[in-house]
Amino acid sequence: MSLIPSDCRECPPGSVEPEGVDRRDFVKKMAAACAAGVPVVLGVVGVPGVNGQTVDGERYDPTMHYYGMGVDPAKCIGCGRCVNACKTENDVPRTEGAFNTWVERYVIRNDGEVIVDSPDGGMEGFPELADEAGIRKSFFVPKLCNHCANPPCVQVCPVGATFITQDGVVLVDDDYCIGCRYCIQACPYGARWFKEEKRVAAKCTFCYHRIVKGLVPACVEACPTQARIFGEVEGRATPLARFIRFNEIDVLKPALNTRPKVYYANLDGEVR
């Protein structure tokens, strides 16, 4: 199955989002931005200077980026450092069901039965397997919001409180969200949860506040085995593009046509 066109252009024509349609469009936009003499973002900045300064002091331009994540389950050791780091970085409550990212363990028994567990989202690791002899194989699969290019959650939001940014990240405007939970229902990946404290929907932001400053998401920073690769989907010379090129790539539930931007390498057929 080819999910990524061979030339690695991700966002296909007719996408709901105006940005990154193809290279020509992209170049045009860049030219327009330069001609105007100001980055496009300037127009949107409410408070000057808030919109991310990168570490080296340059202003962040969302139209220059289009993000995705690669996940290599074969490298995941199920230590849960990513889940832990995510909760800390994003003030995710340590309560049941509140996970921006979590790790699942798949156990495929000799008789073909598939068992999936994720105690506490894998945050504190996983217990040893009881009956090793009866198991054909077992592995870990990190999960998170797929930041779909065609996200059902965004489509169902009645007020426009969840959206795709110009750089391809699906966010929730939690000052505007009315807490109706349609999006939580609509997400086929179970990636959204309800933040009781503010009574709004919440989800993975790819650590938007970090990436605009040139840092990688907290889960990527914490992963000891480089099972997660974050970066630009477009272009050839980026770590993510290379990862996508050099591995057999799958996305979760491709039949739903959500067009996820979280790419799994050599994914076992049992993983959903």
């Binding site: 989002e17 105006p18 127009g43 949107v44 900045v45 409410g46 408070v47 808030v50 919109n51 991310g52 962040y60 969302p62 074969a74 995941c76 050791i77 199920g78 230590c79 849960g80 450092r81 780091a85 800390t88 970085e89 994003n90 363990r105 156990v107 504190e124 690791g125 996983f126 040893e128 397997l129 090793e132 198991i135 077992s138 592995f139 870990f140 426009g160 409180a161 969840t162 959206f163 795709i164 940014t165 110009q166 966010l171 405007d173 000052d175 505007y176 932001t205 938007y208 506040h209 970090r210 400053k213 840092l215 990688v216 907290a218 920073e221 914490a222 992963c223 000891p224 085995t225 480089q226």
Partner: protein
């Protein structure tokens, strides 16, 4: 002109004005600037504070640890994966200290044996692997290496080595009790190492009167006339 037209026009104008007014009131500022959302939301999300400074930040001041780490087996493990979120420490190095995870439990989150882990990832059985000594006694956390090549006796006597590593005698090398000629490894059945023959051998450590150290017994009376190992398995001595 028909009389109704101006009246309708007025009503219509008012309706439109109300509509526009309501729209102005209800639609938040910056909505729709970049798409069907509040553009300002992106900025407020982007302004969240950072907790993990990122490994590059540490290198500025901790060049030594960074260098050691990059040369070792933990090169892929970020500083803050072990030391916890340290952005406040980067802001004020002397005011905030990151945690130092020097417990066995911490290393074990990644290294305990688990069949679901990828084969080849270095794993240990925490209860057996040099329990209860802290890992850092033998492995540098910033550049861990197995300190010696796998034990020369345990290659063949794995069962005994493993049992011993769990026991009160974990610290004793085989050589304390056995003299094994090198040729034993080539011809193990014909060249036999020595085995303890006297109670005195055990007495060198356990006889009453020795200062400090292991639990003591009275060599003259304890368990006579048997050999010590008739009652205590030497590789896993128990007292019950």
């Amino acid at each position: 002109m028909v009389q109704q037209v101006p009246r309708l026009a007025i009503v219509f104008t008012i309706a439109v004005a109300i509509l526009l007014g309501a729209r102005q009131l209800l639609i938040p500022p910056t909505f729709g600037e970049d798409g069907h959302y509040r553009a300002a939301a992106v900025d407020s999300i982007a302004a969240h504070p950072i907790k993990y400074a990122g490994r590059q930040a540490c290198e500025l001041c901790h060049a030594e640890q960074a260098e050691v780490r990059l040369a070792g087996n933990h090169r892929g493990v970020g500083c803050e994966t072990c030391h916890g979120p340290a952005a406040p420490h980067v802001q004020g190095p002397l005011d905030v200290k990151p945690v130092i995870p020097d417990t066995r439990e911490f290393c074990v989150t990644c290294h305990s044996y688990n069949a679901s882990r990828p084969t080849g990832f270095p794993q240990i059985e925490p209860a057996r692997h040099n329990f209860p000594r802290p890992c850092k006694d033998c492995h540098d956390p910033h550049a861990p290496v197995p300190p010696v090549t796998p034990g020369e006796c345990s290659a063949c006597h794995a069962q005994i080595a493993r049992q011993k590593s769990l026991s009160h005698h974990a610290e004793l090398s085989c050589a304390v009790c056995h003299e094994a000629p090198d040729t034993h490894k080539d011809a193990p059945r014909s060249v036999r190492p020595t085995k303890p023959q006297t109670r005195a051998l055990c007495g060198t450590c356990h006889a009453a009167g020795i200062e400090e150290g292991p639990p003591q017994i009275d060599l003259e009376s304890h368990g006579v006339p048997y050999m010590c190992w008739d009652c205590h398995y030497p590789h896993f001595p128990e007292t019950r």
